[in-house]
């Protein structure tokens, strides 16, 4: 039981919350960076290797692109349909091989990244699919290379939607990061379980909720601000970016626990 009247209750609470927040930010931060680094190229590869798309002949004979597309599409779909808890358990051997252990904050980054990559890749895919077809033709007419097409046309045009996708992805990684607390992953989820669940301290729960809420709000605010900054479309599209909803329907494809794992 928690002794609320103990003289060092508040300083203990502050210490626990600070440590938990630090761990959550570390897990979420590293997982987000890895997700973007791997998921962005993956999403572009998914769009580009479709039938008749811009990378169809860039990887050698057409069957190479076709195979890459099938394999990646399959992996992404599997990744999207496995509930997080199960993925986390299934990944234990892999995590142990990679990190040396499967408990702790660093080890938790592995399942967090792996669950987030397919979802983010799908969002990138949707964002890039939204680029006007005329722009591919324009790049070709200008004699641009595939790399110039991706870098200067596709990424530039879909950047606002991708940034909103990043925002949704971070929110979801935060969601899942709370869940890794169950298997000793640390972070605010761990605080909620050890103090709130096992020792019935409602005050811990209240603070965990407030902190998580604040982090999510801040992430969404900052990223949608940046999205508006990089978007110069004006008209309906600009408004969409401004109000924080993406024309790529990121909210529907969002990586929420309710869609993947049962808590």
């Amino acid at each position: 039981m928690i002794d609320y009247d103990s003289p060092d209750f508040w300083s203990n609470l502050a210490e626990v919350l600070l440590k938990g927040t630090g761990e959550t930010l570390y897990m979420v931060g590293v997982a987000t960076v890895l997700t973007i680094v791997i998921g962005l190229p993956l999403g572009i590869l998914l769009v580009g290797t479709e039938k008749g798309a811009f990378l169809e002949r860039a990887l050698g004979p057409v069957w190479v692109a076709r195979t890459v597309n099938r394999v990646l599409g399959f992996v992404v779909n599997v990744g999207r349909s496995v509930p997080f808890i199960i993925l986390m358990i299934a990944l234990i051997p892999f995590t142990r091989w990679l990190i040396g252990t499967f408990v702790g904050t660093t080890a938790s980054i592995v399942p967090l990244t792996i669950i987030a990559i397919p979802f983010f890749a799908r969002m990138v895919e949707i964002a890039v699919n939204d680029v006007a077809p005329g722009l591919y033709e324009t790049a070709d007419a200008l004699g641009a290379t595939r790399w110039q097409l991706v870098r200067r046309v596709l990424l530039s045009e879909s950047m606002p939607a991708i940034l909103l996708g990043v925002s949704t992805t971070i929110t979801s990684i935060i969601n899942f990061s709370a869940m890794v607390g169950v298997v000793g992953g640390g972070g605010l989820g761990n605080v909620a379980i050890t103090y709130g669940f096992q020792r019935y301290s409602w005050i811990h729960i209240v603070f965990v909720v407030i902190i998580l809420f604040a982090i999510v709000q801040l992430v969404q605010l900052v990223l949608s601000r940046i999205a508006v900054r990089v978007s110069h479309r004006g008209g309906a599209d600009g408004r969409r970016a401004r109000t924080g909803t993406s024309r790529t329907r990121t909210s529907r494809t969002a990586l929420t626990p309710s869609e993947g794992a049962a808590p």
Binding site: G134, L135, T138, D140, A141, G143, M159, H232
Partner: protein, 332 residues
């Protein structure tokens, strides 16, 4: 400058296949503005897109400035495409890049060294009259300004040829005029060869020296406008001078007289009244500057028929006038 020979292109196969191009050959001399007209679905865009090989023909050859494009691939094809600029009906500008950056993208694609891009892009914007809008974004520009950016971008790599697919179709008449004037000026100043597609005959009249008419994937007529006007029964000439069809009350004989070049200022009607004692009525008339010369067409109703009418027509033709029968005579 552009030589297109025996192009064939079909979409789909089996009974549902569409023949978009059927044995199409055109020749555009250096420094000329050449217009392609035709109905929707005639194959105009397909033809234009084969010229820079955005569309690969099933057979036939395309060469631009002596380079045979159909045999190229990969980086050689990309290099050849930079010799050909292209502008689009819907401008196709990068929405999240400034006007300046849009033009610089073309220079990057053309492998112009980074340090020279900004200067060259400003130069191009100056050329199209947008020197002060480099920092604007496309959404902040009018349609006409967007198309100027499109033209600046297309010409940034200093191509010899400009392709234009309905570049003015999304613009109002006044803006259309200013864009056409710009293209005509670039044609003169840069000695640019222009191949353009349009469904507006006004565009052809205004800037083209030659034109081709497409129907169902075939070229049915092509040539210099001045020659086409002199060709009896020319469909293109008919479209250049749209006159209302004669009504039932317009008499037994209706003829069209086309004037081109030297014959334009002859007082034909007065002469008919004087020499043939005929009281002709004018059903319609158009006079325009076409292909750089004054040209016109007058539709007349003659109060005679048979031999008498034929004699009048023969007399007019002897004077070098182009006469088409619409009713009576050869039309019957």
């Amino acid at each position: 400058m552009i030589t297109v020979q025996h192009l064939q292109k079909s979409y789909g196969h089996g009974p549902s296949a569409v023949r978009a191009l059927d044995d199409v050959s055109i020749e555009v001399p250096e420094g000329e503005v050449f217009g392609v007209v035709g109905r929707s679905g005639a194959g105009k865009s397909t033809l234009l897109r084969t010229v820079n090989l955005l569309e690969r023909p099933d057979s036939g050859s395309v060469s631009v400035a002596g380079t045979e494009l159909t045999s190229l691939n990969g980086s050689a094809l990309r290099a050849a495409r930079r010799q050909v600029g292209m502008v689009f009906q819907h401008f196709n500008l990068l929405a999240n890049r400034s006007v300046q950056q849009n033009v610089e993208f073309a220079l990057e694609a053309a492998r112009v060294p980074r340090g020279q891009r900004a200067g060259r892009a400003s130069e191009m914007l100056d050329l199209v009259g947008l020197a002060d809008r480099g920092r604007a974004y496309p959404a902040q520009l009018s349609g006409g300004q967007k198309q100027r950016v499109g033209i600046a971008r297309a010409l940034a790599a200093r191509p010899k040829v400009l392709l234009s697919d309905e570049a003015t179709s999304a613009l109002d008449p006044e803006t259309t005029e200013s864009i056409l004037d710009l293209i005509a000026r670039l044609n003169r100043e840069l000695h640019l060869t222009v191949l353009l597609i349009t469904h507006e005959m006004d565009v052809v009249k205004r800037i083209c020296a030659s034109a081709a008419l497409m129907e169902h994937g075939r070229i049915v007529e092509q040539g210099r406008l001045v020659e086409l006007l002199r060709t009896p029964g020319s469909a293109l000439a008919g479209q250049l001078f749209p006159l209302a069809a004669p009504g039932p009350g317009d008499g037994p004989t209706v003829i069209d007289i086309t004037f081109a070049g030297g014959t334009a200022d002859r007082p034909v009607i007065a002469q008919l009244a004087r020499e043939h004692r005929l009281d002709v009525s004018i059903l319609g008339a158009v006079v325009e500057r076409i292909g750089g010369t004054q040209a016109g067409r007058t539709r007349l109703s003659l109060p005679v028929q048979g031999e008498a009418a034929a004699a009048v027509v023969a007399d007019l033709r002897r004077q070098g006038l182009i006469v088409d029968w619409l009713r009576g005579g050869e039309a019957a």
